[in-house]
Protein backbone atom coordinates (compact mmCIF):
# COMPACT_ATOMS: atom_id res chain seq x y z
CA UNK A 1 0.00 0.00 0.00
CA UNK A 2 1.07 3.55 -0.57
CA UNK A 3 0.68 6.77 1.33
CA UNK A 4 0.08 9.60 -1.09
CA UNK A 5 0.75 13.01 0.36
CA UNK A 6 -0.27 16.07 -1.59
CA UNK A 7 0.33 19.73 -0.78
CA UNK A 8 -2.32 21.75 -2.60
CA UNK A 9 -3.80 25.22 -2.73
CA UNK A 10 -6.49 25.64 -0.08
CA UNK A 11 -9.32 26.52 -2.41
CA UNK A 12 -8.71 23.32 -4.38
CA UNK A 13 -9.57 21.01 -1.52
CA UNK A 14 -13.15 20.42 -2.59
CA UNK A 15 -12.17 19.69 -6.16
CA UNK A 16 -9.54 17.21 -5.06
CA UNK A 17 -11.94 15.51 -2.68
CA UNK A 18 -14.55 15.21 -5.39
CA UNK A 19 -12.04 13.84 -7.87
CA UNK A 20 -10.84 11.24 -5.39
CA UNK A 21 -14.38 10.26 -4.51
CA UNK A 22 -15.14 9.93 -8.20
CA UNK A 23 -12.47 7.25 -8.63
CA UNK A 24 -13.65 5.37 -5.56
CA UNK A 25 -11.27 6.55 -2.86
CA UNK A 26 -13.16 6.22 0.39
CA UNK A 27 -10.93 7.84 2.91
CA UNK A 28 -9.00 11.10 3.01
CA UNK A 29 -7.24 12.97 5.78
CA UNK A 30 -6.46 16.66 5.38
CA UNK A 31 -4.66 19.21 7.49
CA UNK A 32 -3.76 22.88 7.39
CA UNK A 33 -0.09 23.56 6.71
CA UNK A 34 1.97 26.41 5.39
CA UNK A 35 4.38 26.15 2.57
CA UNK A 36 7.47 27.85 1.37
CA UNK A 37 8.59 27.28 -2.19
CA UNK A 38 9.12 28.75 -5.59
CA UNK A 39 5.87 30.63 -5.25
CA UNK A 40 7.61 32.82 -2.76
CA UNK A 41 5.63 34.73 -0.20
CA UNK A 42 4.18 38.18 -0.38
CA UNK A 43 4.60 41.49 1.30
CA UNK A 44 2.07 42.70 3.82
CA UNK A 45 1.84 46.05 5.54
CA UNK A 46 0.86 46.66 9.12
CA UNK A 47 0.57 50.09 10.63
CA UNK A 48 2.43 51.55 7.69
CA UNK A 49 5.37 49.15 7.85
CA UNK A 50 6.07 46.38 5.38
CA UNK A 51 6.90 42.84 6.29
CA UNK A 52 7.29 39.65 4.33
CA UNK A 53 5.16 36.55 4.66
CA UNK A 54 7.20 33.63 3.39
CA UNK A 55 4.91 30.80 4.34
CA UNK A 56 1.67 30.68 2.41
CA UNK A 57 -1.35 28.61 3.48
CA UNK A 58 -1.63 25.18 1.93
CA UNK A 59 -3.64 22.04 2.55
CA UNK A 60 -1.93 18.71 3.07
CA UNK A 61 -3.92 15.75 1.78
CA UNK A 62 -3.03 12.24 2.87
CA UNK A 63 -4.50 9.08 1.46
CA UNK A 64 -3.44 5.51 1.91
CA UNK A 65 -4.32 3.42 -1.13
CA UNK A 66 -3.77 -0.05 -2.43
CA UNK A 67 -0.71 -0.30 -4.65
CA UNK A 68 -2.79 -0.65 -7.77
CA UNK A 69 -4.87 2.40 -6.99
CA UNK A 70 -1.94 4.74 -6.48
CA UNK A 71 -1.49 5.85 -10.05
CA UNK A 72 -5.14 6.59 -10.51
CA UNK A 73 -5.23 8.59 -7.31
CA UNK A 74 -2.17 10.57 -8.30
CA UNK A 75 -3.65 11.36 -11.67
CA UNK A 76 -6.90 12.43 -10.06
CA UNK A 77 -5.12 14.77 -7.68
CA UNK A 78 -2.95 16.18 -10.43
CA UNK A 79 -5.89 16.85 -12.66
CA UNK A 80 -8.03 18.42 -9.98
CA UNK A 81 -5.40 20.45 -8.14
CA UNK A 82 -3.68 22.02 -11.09
CA UNK A 83 -4.15 25.67 -11.95
CA UNK A 84 -0.95 25.99 -13.93
CA UNK A 85 0.23 28.80 -11.72
CA UNK A 86 3.27 28.57 -9.55
CA UNK A 87 2.53 27.16 -6.10
CA UNK A 88 0.19 24.38 -7.19
CA UNK A 89 2.13 22.05 -4.95
CA UNK A 90 3.59 18.57 -4.82
CA UNK A 91 2.50 14.99 -4.55
CA UNK A 92 4.79 12.45 -3.00
CA UNK A 93 4.45 8.76 -2.37
CA UNK A 94 5.87 6.60 0.39
CA UNK A 95 5.44 2.95 1.07
CA UNK A 96 3.09 1.78 3.78
CA UNK A 97 3.87 -1.52 5.45
CA UNK A 98 0.72 -2.06 7.40
CA UNK A 99 -2.63 -0.44 7.73
CA UNK A 100 -5.24 -1.25 10.34
CA UNK A 101 -8.83 -0.15 10.76
CA UNK A 102 -9.18 0.63 14.44
CA UNK A 103 -12.89 -0.14 14.62
CA UNK A 104 -12.66 -3.69 13.35
CA UNK A 105 -9.01 -4.55 13.59
CA UNK A 106 -9.01 -5.44 9.89
CA UNK A 107 -5.58 -5.19 8.28
CA UNK A 108 -4.26 -4.56 4.80
CA UNK A 109 -6.25 -3.53 1.76
CA UNK A 110 -9.52 -4.36 3.56
CA UNK A 111 -8.71 -1.70 6.12
CA UNK A 112 -8.37 1.11 3.62
Amino acid sequence: MKLITAIIKPFKVDDVKDALKAIGIQGITVGEVRGFGRQGGHTETYRGAEYKIEFVPKIQVEIVVDDGAADGAIEAIKASAVTGKIGDGKIWVTDVERIIRIRTGEEGPDAI
Binding site: F11, R34, G41, H42, E44, T45, Y46, Y51, K52, I53, E54, F55
Partner: protein, 463 residues
Protein backbone atom coordinates in the same frame (compact mmCIF):
# COMPACT_ATOMS: atom_id res chain seq x y z
CA UNK B 1 -26.42 78.62 33.48
CA UNK B 2 -22.82 79.48 33.11
CA UNK B 3 -20.55 77.27 35.10
CA UNK B 4 -17.02 77.61 36.33
CA UNK B 5 -14.41 75.07 37.00
CA UNK B 6 -12.95 75.22 40.47
CA UNK B 7 -9.70 76.94 39.61
CA UNK B 8 -11.73 79.46 37.73
CA UNK B 9 -12.59 81.27 40.89
CA UNK B 10 -8.99 81.39 41.82
CA UNK B 11 -7.94 82.52 38.39
CA UNK B 12 -10.47 85.28 38.51
CA UNK B 13 -9.06 86.37 41.84
CA UNK B 14 -5.49 86.05 40.67
CA UNK B 15 -6.14 88.23 37.72
CA UNK B 16 -7.79 90.71 40.00
CA UNK B 17 -11.11 90.75 38.27
CA UNK B 18 -14.19 88.68 37.77
CA UNK B 19 -13.78 87.63 34.18
CA UNK B 20 -16.79 88.41 32.12
CA UNK B 21 -18.66 85.55 30.58
CA UNK B 22 -18.67 86.08 26.88
CA UNK B 23 -20.77 83.43 25.45
CA UNK B 24 -24.45 84.10 25.26
CA UNK B 25 -26.58 81.03 25.55
CA UNK B 26 -30.29 80.76 25.37
CA UNK B 27 -30.36 79.74 28.96
CA UNK B 28 -27.95 82.30 30.27
CA UNK B 29 -29.32 84.28 33.12
CA UNK B 30 -28.00 86.81 35.53
CA UNK B 31 -27.21 85.51 38.98
CA UNK B 32 -29.90 87.57 40.61
CA UNK B 33 -32.68 86.54 38.31
CA UNK B 34 -34.45 83.35 39.38
CA UNK B 35 -34.07 80.45 37.05
CA UNK B 36 -37.17 79.62 35.04
CA UNK B 37 -38.35 76.04 35.02
CA UNK B 38 -38.73 76.37 31.25
CA UNK B 39 -34.99 76.92 31.01
CA UNK B 40 -34.23 73.82 33.00
CA UNK B 41 -36.62 71.90 30.80
CA UNK B 42 -34.72 73.18 27.76
CA UNK B 43 -31.45 71.99 29.26
CA UNK B 44 -33.03 68.64 30.01
CA UNK B 45 -34.41 68.32 26.48
CA UNK B 46 -30.97 68.89 25.05
CA UNK B 47 -29.20 66.64 27.52
CA UNK B 48 -31.58 63.80 26.83
CA UNK B 49 -31.33 64.14 23.06
CA UNK B 50 -27.54 64.26 23.36
CA UNK B 51 -27.48 61.11 25.48
CA UNK B 52 -29.79 59.46 22.98
CA UNK B 53 -27.50 60.54 20.17
CA UNK B 54 -24.51 59.06 21.96
CA UNK B 55 -26.36 55.76 22.17
CA UNK B 56 -27.14 55.95 18.46
CA UNK B 57 -23.48 56.65 17.76
CA UNK B 58 -22.60 53.41 19.52
CA UNK B 59 -24.70 51.48 17.01
CA UNK B 60 -21.66 51.72 14.73
CA UNK B 61 -19.94 49.16 16.92
CA UNK B 62 -23.04 47.00 16.78
CA UNK B 63 -23.21 47.04 13.00
CA UNK B 64 -19.50 46.29 12.77
CA UNK B 65 -19.83 43.27 15.07
CA UNK B 66 -22.94 41.85 13.43
CA UNK B 67 -21.44 42.14 9.98
CA UNK B 68 -18.05 40.81 11.03
CA UNK B 69 -19.61 37.89 12.86
CA UNK B 70 -21.71 36.76 9.92
CA UNK B 71 -18.92 36.89 7.36
CA UNK B 72 -15.59 35.17 6.95
CA UNK B 73 -12.37 35.69 8.88
CA UNK B 74 -10.41 36.63 5.79
CA UNK B 75 -12.54 39.74 5.30
CA UNK B 76 -12.89 40.88 8.88
CA UNK B 77 -10.52 43.82 8.58
CA UNK B 78 -12.38 44.99 5.52
CA UNK B 79 -15.74 44.86 7.29
CA UNK B 80 -14.31 46.76 10.24
CA UNK B 81 -12.65 49.30 7.96
CA UNK B 82 -15.87 49.89 6.06
CA UNK B 83 -17.88 50.32 9.22
CA UNK B 84 -15.39 52.79 10.57
CA UNK B 85 -14.81 54.64 7.32
CA UNK B 86 -18.45 55.13 6.46
CA UNK B 87 -19.00 56.68 9.86
CA UNK B 88 -16.04 59.01 9.43
CA UNK B 89 -17.03 60.02 5.93
CA UNK B 90 -20.69 60.21 6.84
CA UNK B 91 -20.02 62.62 9.67
CA UNK B 92 -17.99 64.95 7.50
CA UNK B 93 -20.26 64.81 4.45
CA UNK B 94 -23.36 65.35 6.51
CA UNK B 95 -21.69 68.25 8.25
CA UNK B 96 -20.65 69.78 4.95
CA UNK B 97 -23.80 69.41 2.88
CA UNK B 98 -26.08 66.66 4.13
CA UNK B 99 -27.46 68.66 7.03
CA UNK B 100 -28.15 71.55 4.68
CA UNK B 101 -29.94 69.39 2.15
CA UNK B 102 -32.02 67.88 4.95
CA UNK B 103 -32.85 70.88 7.10
CA UNK B 104 -31.94 73.98 5.12
CA UNK B 105 -35.40 75.35 4.38
CA UNK B 106 -38.68 73.86 3.40
CA UNK B 107 -38.74 73.48 -0.33
CA UNK B 108 -40.55 70.26 -1.21
CA UNK B 109 -37.47 68.55 -2.60
CA UNK B 110 -34.30 69.62 -0.89
CA UNK B 111 -32.87 72.10 1.59
CA UNK B 112 -30.64 74.85 0.27
CA UNK B 113 -29.07 76.62 3.23
CA UNK B 114 -26.98 75.92 6.35
CA UNK B 115 -24.08 74.35 4.44
CA UNK B 116 -21.24 73.63 6.85
CA UNK B 117 -23.68 74.75 9.56
CA UNK B 118 -22.69 78.24 8.56
CA UNK B 119 -24.54 81.00 10.30
CA UNK B 120 -26.00 78.64 12.88
CA UNK B 121 -25.55 79.72 16.50
CA UNK B 122 -24.14 76.55 18.00
CA UNK B 123 -25.15 77.06 21.63
CA UNK B 124 -28.49 78.73 22.09
CA UNK B 125 -31.44 76.65 23.10
CA UNK B 126 -33.75 76.31 20.17
CA UNK B 127 -31.18 77.64 17.75
CA UNK B 128 -31.70 74.62 15.51
CA UNK B 129 -35.23 75.74 14.91
CA UNK B 130 -36.47 72.46 16.33
CA UNK B 131 -38.17 72.76 19.67
CA UNK B 132 -35.65 73.57 22.37
CA UNK B 133 -32.73 71.94 20.64
CA UNK B 134 -29.57 73.91 20.05
CA UNK B 135 -27.84 73.57 16.71
CA UNK B 136 -25.17 71.44 18.33
CA UNK B 137 -27.67 69.04 19.82
CA UNK B 138 -29.78 68.68 16.72
CA UNK B 139 -26.78 68.32 14.45
CA UNK B 140 -25.29 65.68 16.72
CA UNK B 141 -28.47 63.66 16.75
CA UNK B 142 -29.00 63.92 13.01
CA UNK B 143 -25.46 63.16 12.01
CA UNK B 144 -25.33 59.91 13.95
CA UNK B 145 -28.53 58.92 12.18
CA UNK B 146 -26.85 59.56 8.85
CA UNK B 147 -23.94 57.37 9.89
CA UNK B 148 -26.42 54.63 10.71
CA UNK B 149 -28.22 54.85 7.38
CA UNK B 150 -25.07 54.51 5.35
CA UNK B 151 -23.65 51.60 7.30
CA UNK B 152 -26.60 49.35 6.52
CA UNK B 153 -25.41 48.70 2.98
CA UNK B 154 -21.96 47.55 4.03
CA UNK B 155 -23.33 44.27 5.36
CA UNK B 156 -25.18 43.35 2.19
CA UNK B 157 -22.18 44.22 0.07
CA UNK B 158 -19.70 42.45 2.32
CA UNK B 159 -16.77 40.29 1.23
CA UNK B 160 -16.52 41.46 -2.39
CA UNK B 161 -16.75 45.25 -2.68
CA UNK B 162 -13.72 47.38 -3.42
CA UNK B 163 -12.90 49.52 -0.42
CA UNK B 164 -12.45 52.75 -2.33
CA UNK B 165 -15.70 52.22 -4.22
CA UNK B 166 -17.56 51.74 -0.99
CA UNK B 167 -16.08 54.96 0.34
CA UNK B 168 -17.35 56.79 -2.72
CA UNK B 169 -20.82 55.38 -2.25
CA UNK B 170 -20.75 56.34 1.45
CA UNK B 171 -20.06 59.93 0.53
CA UNK B 172 -22.91 60.12 -1.97
CA UNK B 173 -25.27 58.42 0.45
CA UNK B 174 -24.63 60.75 3.36
CA UNK B 175 -24.25 63.86 1.26
CA UNK B 176 -27.27 63.48 -1.01
CA UNK B 177 -29.39 60.35 -1.11
CA UNK B 178 -30.18 60.07 2.59
CA UNK B 179 -30.48 63.80 3.35
CA UNK B 180 -33.16 64.20 0.69
CA UNK B 181 -35.26 61.48 2.29
CA UNK B 182 -34.78 63.17 5.64
CA UNK B 183 -35.85 66.47 4.14
CA UNK B 184 -39.03 64.93 2.81
CA UNK B 185 -40.05 63.63 6.21
CA UNK B 186 -38.41 65.39 9.12
CA UNK B 187 -37.25 68.42 7.20
CA UNK B 188 -40.76 69.44 6.26
CA UNK B 189 -40.47 68.76 2.52
CA UNK B 190 -42.63 66.34 0.62
CA UNK B 191 -44.57 65.36 3.72
CA UNK B 192 -46.45 68.62 3.70
CA UNK B 193 -47.64 68.11 0.14
CA UNK B 194 -48.64 64.50 0.52
CA UNK B 195 -51.69 63.65 2.50
CA UNK B 196 -54.54 61.33 1.82
CA UNK B 197 -57.72 62.66 3.33
CA UNK B 198 -56.80 63.62 6.84
CA UNK B 199 -53.88 61.29 6.92
CA UNK B 200 -50.39 62.71 7.10
CA UNK B 201 -47.44 60.41 6.58
CA UNK B 202 -45.82 59.41 9.83
CA UNK B 203 -42.40 57.95 10.46
CA UNK B 204 -41.48 58.70 14.03
CA UNK B 205 -37.90 57.49 14.16
CA UNK B 206 -37.16 56.32 10.66
CA UNK B 207 -38.39 52.88 9.57
CA UNK B 208 -38.62 54.57 6.21
CA UNK B 209 -36.15 57.43 6.44
CA UNK B 210 -33.27 55.38 7.76
CA UNK B 211 -33.97 51.68 7.40
CA UNK B 212 -35.91 51.45 4.17
CA UNK B 213 -33.43 53.88 2.66
CA UNK B 214 -30.47 51.85 3.84
CA UNK B 215 -32.13 48.59 2.85
CA UNK B 216 -32.91 49.68 -0.69
CA UNK B 217 -29.36 50.89 -1.23
CA UNK B 218 -28.17 47.57 0.18
CA UNK B 219 -30.35 45.66 -2.26
CA UNK B 220 -29.19 47.62 -5.28
CA UNK B 221 -25.57 47.28 -4.20
CA UNK B 222 -25.82 43.54 -3.59
CA UNK B 223 -27.62 42.96 -6.86
CA UNK B 224 -25.15 44.94 -8.93
CA UNK B 225 -22.19 43.26 -7.27
CA UNK B 226 -23.46 39.78 -7.80
CA UNK B 227 -23.04 36.99 -5.29
CA UNK B 228 -19.81 36.01 -3.58
CA UNK B 229 -17.80 33.29 -5.29
CA UNK B 230 -19.15 29.95 -4.23
CA UNK B 231 -22.41 31.29 -2.90
CA UNK B 232 -24.41 29.46 -5.52
CA UNK B 233 -23.66 26.02 -6.86
CA UNK B 234 -23.73 25.04 -10.51
CA UNK B 235 -27.53 24.78 -10.42
CA UNK B 236 -27.95 28.17 -8.83
CA UNK B 237 -28.84 26.63 -5.48
CA UNK B 238 -27.68 28.85 -2.62
CA UNK B 239 -24.97 27.41 -0.39
CA UNK B 240 -24.40 28.40 3.21
CA UNK B 241 -21.25 30.41 3.90
CA UNK B 242 -21.19 30.37 7.68
CA UNK B 243 -20.09 33.43 9.56
CA UNK B 244 -16.79 33.18 11.36
CA UNK B 245 -17.71 34.49 14.78
CA UNK B 246 -21.25 34.07 16.06
CA UNK B 247 -20.55 35.66 19.46
CA UNK B 248 -19.56 38.85 17.65
CA UNK B 249 -22.90 38.81 15.85
CA UNK B 250 -24.91 38.33 19.03
CA UNK B 251 -23.05 40.99 20.99
CA UNK B 252 -23.56 43.25 17.99
CA UNK B 253 -27.29 42.70 18.22
CA UNK B 254 -27.28 43.65 21.91
CA UNK B 255 -25.32 46.81 21.14
CA UNK B 256 -27.71 47.72 18.34
CA UNK B 257 -30.68 47.16 20.62
CA UNK B 258 -29.02 49.38 23.22
CA UNK B 259 -28.51 52.07 20.61
CA UNK B 260 -32.08 51.71 19.41
CA UNK B 261 -33.39 53.06 22.69
CA UNK B 262 -31.61 56.26 21.79
CA UNK B 263 -32.69 55.98 18.18
CA UNK B 264 -36.38 55.69 18.89
CA UNK B 265 -36.82 57.39 22.22
CA UNK B 266 -34.46 60.19 21.30
CA UNK B 267 -36.49 60.90 18.18
CA UNK B 268 -39.04 62.63 20.38
CA UNK B 269 -36.42 65.41 20.32
CA UNK B 270 -37.45 66.43 23.80
CA UNK B 271 -37.60 65.05 27.30
CA UNK B 272 -41.24 64.32 27.92
CA UNK B 273 -43.47 61.47 28.87
CA UNK B 274 -43.51 59.92 25.43
CA UNK B 275 -39.83 59.09 25.66
CA UNK B 276 -40.25 56.28 28.16
CA UNK B 277 -43.26 54.92 26.38
CA UNK B 278 -41.29 54.74 23.16
CA UNK B 279 -38.49 52.95 24.96
CA UNK B 280 -40.90 50.38 26.37
CA UNK B 281 -42.36 49.81 22.91
CA UNK B 282 -38.86 49.37 21.55
CA UNK B 283 -38.13 46.75 24.17
CA UNK B 284 -41.33 44.85 23.52
CA UNK B 285 -41.07 44.87 19.74
CA UNK B 286 -37.46 43.70 19.77
CA UNK B 287 -38.32 40.84 22.09
CA UNK B 288 -41.31 39.84 19.99
CA UNK B 289 -39.24 39.97 16.81
CA UNK B 290 -36.58 37.74 18.31
CA UNK B 291 -39.02 35.18 19.65
CA UNK B 292 -41.02 34.91 16.45
CA UNK B 293 -37.97 34.77 14.20
CA UNK B 294 -36.52 32.01 16.35
CA UNK B 295 -39.76 30.09 16.19
CA UNK B 296 -40.00 30.56 12.43
CA UNK B 297 -36.51 29.42 11.65
CA UNK B 298 -36.85 26.57 14.13
CA UNK B 299 -39.98 25.35 12.38
CA UNK B 300 -38.49 25.75 8.93
CA UNK B 301 -35.07 24.26 9.48
CA UNK B 302 -35.37 22.28 12.68
CA UNK B 303 -32.79 24.40 14.52
CA UNK B 304 -33.01 27.65 16.51
CA UNK B 305 -30.35 29.54 14.57
CA UNK B 306 -29.05 32.28 16.82
CA UNK B 307 -27.96 34.54 13.97
CA UNK B 308 -31.49 34.47 12.69
CA UNK B 309 -32.81 35.14 16.18
CA UNK B 310 -30.60 38.21 16.18
CA UNK B 311 -31.93 39.25 12.79
CA UNK B 312 -35.38 38.83 14.30
CA UNK B 313 -34.62 41.19 17.15
CA UNK B 314 -33.36 43.76 14.69
CA UNK B 315 -36.36 43.18 12.45
CA UNK B 316 -38.67 43.80 15.38
CA UNK B 317 -36.81 46.99 16.16
CA UNK B 318 -36.99 48.20 12.58
CA UNK B 319 -40.66 47.28 12.53
CA UNK B 320 -41.47 49.49 15.52
CA UNK B 321 -39.26 52.39 14.53
CA UNK B 322 -41.93 54.24 12.58
CA UNK B 323 -44.71 53.46 14.99
CA UNK B 324 -42.90 53.55 18.32
CA UNK B 325 -44.94 56.55 19.40
CA UNK B 326 -48.20 55.69 17.72
CA UNK B 327 -48.66 52.03 18.61
CA UNK B 328 -49.68 50.82 22.02
CA UNK B 329 -47.94 47.90 23.75
CA UNK B 330 -50.08 45.38 21.93
CA UNK B 331 -49.40 47.07 18.63
CA UNK B 332 -45.68 47.07 19.35
CA UNK B 333 -45.83 43.38 20.12
CA UNK B 334 -47.63 42.61 16.88
CA UNK B 335 -45.42 44.87 14.77
CA UNK B 336 -42.35 43.18 16.22
CA UNK B 337 -43.69 39.66 15.97
CA UNK B 338 -44.75 40.04 12.36
CA UNK B 339 -41.37 41.57 11.52
CA UNK B 340 -39.71 38.57 13.13
CA UNK B 341 -41.63 36.20 10.88
CA UNK B 342 -41.19 38.34 7.78
CA UNK B 343 -37.44 38.63 8.18
CA UNK B 344 -36.84 34.90 8.15
CA UNK B 345 -38.99 34.40 5.09
CA UNK B 346 -37.39 37.36 3.37
CA UNK B 347 -33.86 36.14 4.05
CA UNK B 348 -34.65 32.75 2.60
CA UNK B 349 -36.52 34.27 -0.35
CA UNK B 350 -33.82 36.75 -1.25
CA UNK B 351 -31.20 34.04 -0.91
CA UNK B 352 -33.08 31.91 -3.41
CA UNK B 353 -33.48 34.80 -5.84
CA UNK B 354 -29.76 35.03 -6.37
CA UNK B 355 -29.18 38.13 -4.30
CA UNK B 356 -26.34 37.43 -1.90
CA UNK B 357 -26.84 39.40 1.30
CA UNK B 358 -24.45 37.84 3.83
CA UNK B 359 -25.99 39.47 6.90
CA UNK B 360 -29.62 39.85 5.89
CA UNK B 361 -29.49 43.63 5.73
CA UNK B 362 -32.01 43.92 2.92
CA UNK B 363 -34.51 41.80 4.79
CA UNK B 364 -33.99 43.42 8.17
CA UNK B 365 -33.82 47.04 7.13
CA UNK B 366 -35.48 47.12 3.73
CA UNK B 367 -38.35 44.69 4.01
CA UNK B 368 -39.07 45.31 7.68
CA UNK B 369 -38.55 49.04 7.20
CA UNK B 370 -41.44 49.00 4.78
CA UNK B 371 -43.42 46.85 7.18
CA UNK B 372 -42.76 49.40 9.91
CA UNK B 373 -44.32 52.14 7.79
CA UNK B 374 -47.35 50.01 7.07
CA UNK B 375 -47.69 48.98 10.69
CA UNK B 376 -48.46 52.59 11.51
CA UNK B 377 -51.29 52.49 8.99
CA UNK B 378 -52.62 49.33 10.56
CA UNK B 379 -52.16 49.82 14.29
CA UNK B 380 -51.75 53.53 15.02
CA UNK B 381 -53.53 54.13 18.28
CA UNK B 382 -52.05 57.29 19.72
CA UNK B 383 -51.23 60.59 18.14
CA UNK B 384 -47.71 60.68 19.42
CA UNK B 385 -46.21 60.34 16.03
CA UNK B 386 -47.65 63.57 14.72
CA UNK B 387 -50.44 61.88 12.89
CA UNK B 388 -52.94 64.59 13.58
CA UNK B 389 -55.53 62.26 15.04
CA UNK B 390 -55.90 59.41 17.45
CA UNK B 391 -56.74 55.89 16.30
CA UNK B 392 -55.55 56.46 12.76
CA UNK B 393 -54.76 52.77 12.24
CA UNK B 394 -57.02 50.54 10.20
CA UNK B 395 -57.57 48.22 13.13
CA UNK B 396 -58.57 51.10 15.36
CA UNK B 397 -61.23 52.28 12.96
CA UNK B 398 -59.11 54.84 11.19
CA UNK B 399 -59.88 53.48 7.76
CA UNK B 400 -57.43 53.03 4.93
CA UNK B 401 -56.16 56.60 4.62
CA UNK B 402 -53.20 56.27 6.91
CA UNK B 403 -52.23 52.94 5.44
CA UNK B 404 -52.38 54.41 1.96
CA UNK B 405 -50.25 57.42 2.70
CA UNK B 406 -47.71 55.21 4.44
CA UNK B 407 -47.51 52.91 1.44
CA UNK B 408 -47.30 55.82 -0.97
CA UNK B 409 -44.39 57.41 0.80
CA UNK B 410 -42.72 54.02 1.11
CA UNK B 411 -42.88 53.64 -2.63
CA UNK B 412 -41.53 57.11 -3.21
CA UNK B 413 -38.56 56.35 -0.96
CA UNK B 414 -37.94 53.06 -2.73
CA UNK B 415 -38.03 54.79 -6.09
CA UNK B 416 -35.72 57.63 -5.08
CA UNK B 417 -33.16 55.54 -3.26
CA UNK B 418 -33.36 52.76 -5.82
CA UNK B 419 -32.73 55.07 -8.75
CA UNK B 420 -30.07 57.13 -7.05
CA UNK B 421 -28.21 54.06 -5.80
CA UNK B 422 -28.41 52.51 -9.22
CA UNK B 423 -26.90 55.62 -10.78
CA UNK B 424 -24.20 55.88 -8.14
CA UNK B 425 -23.19 52.25 -8.25
CA UNK B 426 -23.29 52.19 -12.03
CA UNK B 427 -20.98 55.17 -12.27
CA UNK B 428 -18.63 53.49 -9.80
CA UNK B 429 -18.77 50.25 -11.74
CA UNK B 430 -17.96 51.94 -15.03
CA UNK B 431 -15.09 53.95 -13.58
CA UNK B 432 -13.17 52.58 -10.63
CA UNK B 433 -15.02 49.28 -10.57
CA UNK B 434 -17.27 47.91 -7.85
CA UNK B 435 -15.84 44.51 -7.16
CA UNK B 436 -12.45 43.17 -6.18
CA UNK B 437 -10.68 40.66 -8.42
CA UNK B 438 -11.38 36.99 -8.13
CA UNK B 439 -8.00 36.35 -6.57
CA UNK B 440 -8.51 39.07 -3.98
CA UNK B 441 -11.90 37.67 -3.14
CA UNK B 442 -10.59 34.15 -2.77
CA UNK B 443 -7.58 35.06 -0.72
CA UNK B 444 -9.45 37.61 1.30
CA UNK B 445 -9.86 41.35 1.13
CA UNK B 446 -7.91 41.89 4.33
CA UNK B 447 -4.48 41.21 2.97
CA UNK B 448 -5.16 42.59 -0.48
CA UNK B 449 -7.05 45.73 0.35
CA UNK B 450 -5.76 46.55 3.81
CA UNK B 451 -2.32 45.00 3.94
CA UNK B 452 -2.59 42.32 6.59
CA UNK B 453 -5.00 39.79 8.05
CA UNK B 454 -7.40 40.41 10.91
CA UNK B 455 -6.11 37.53 12.94
CA UNK B 456 -2.37 37.09 12.90
CA UNK B 457 -0.87 34.00 14.38
CA UNK B 458 2.61 34.73 15.57
CA UNK B 459 3.95 31.33 14.79
CA UNK B 460 4.14 31.44 11.05
CA UNK B 461 3.02 34.92 10.33
CA UNK B 462 6.36 36.70 10.43
CA UNK B 463 9.75 36.25 8.94
Amino acid sequence: MRTFKPFRYAVGAALGAALPVFIATGSAFAEDEPLAAETVQAVLDNIWVLVAGILVFFMQAGFALVEAGLTRAKNVVNIMAKNMADALIGILCFLAVGYAFAFGGDGWFIGTSKFFLSGQAPFDWGSSGVLNLSTSTFFFFQVVFAATAVTIASGAMAERTKFVSYLFFSAVMTAVIYPVVVHWTWGGGLIKRINIGDAVYSDFAGSGVVHLTGGVAALVGAALLGPRLGKYDANGKPRAIPGHNIPFAVIGVFILWLGWFGFNAGSELAADSLVMFVAANTLIAGAAGGVFATATVWLKSGKPDVGMAGNGVLAGLVGITAGCGALNFLGAFIAGAVAGIIVVLAVLFIDRRGIDDPVGAVSVHGVCGLWGLLAVGLFARYDDAFLGREKAGLFYGGGFDQLAVQALMGLIIIAWVGIMSLITFTIIKKTIGLRVTQQEEMEGLDVHEHGSPGYSSELLGMS
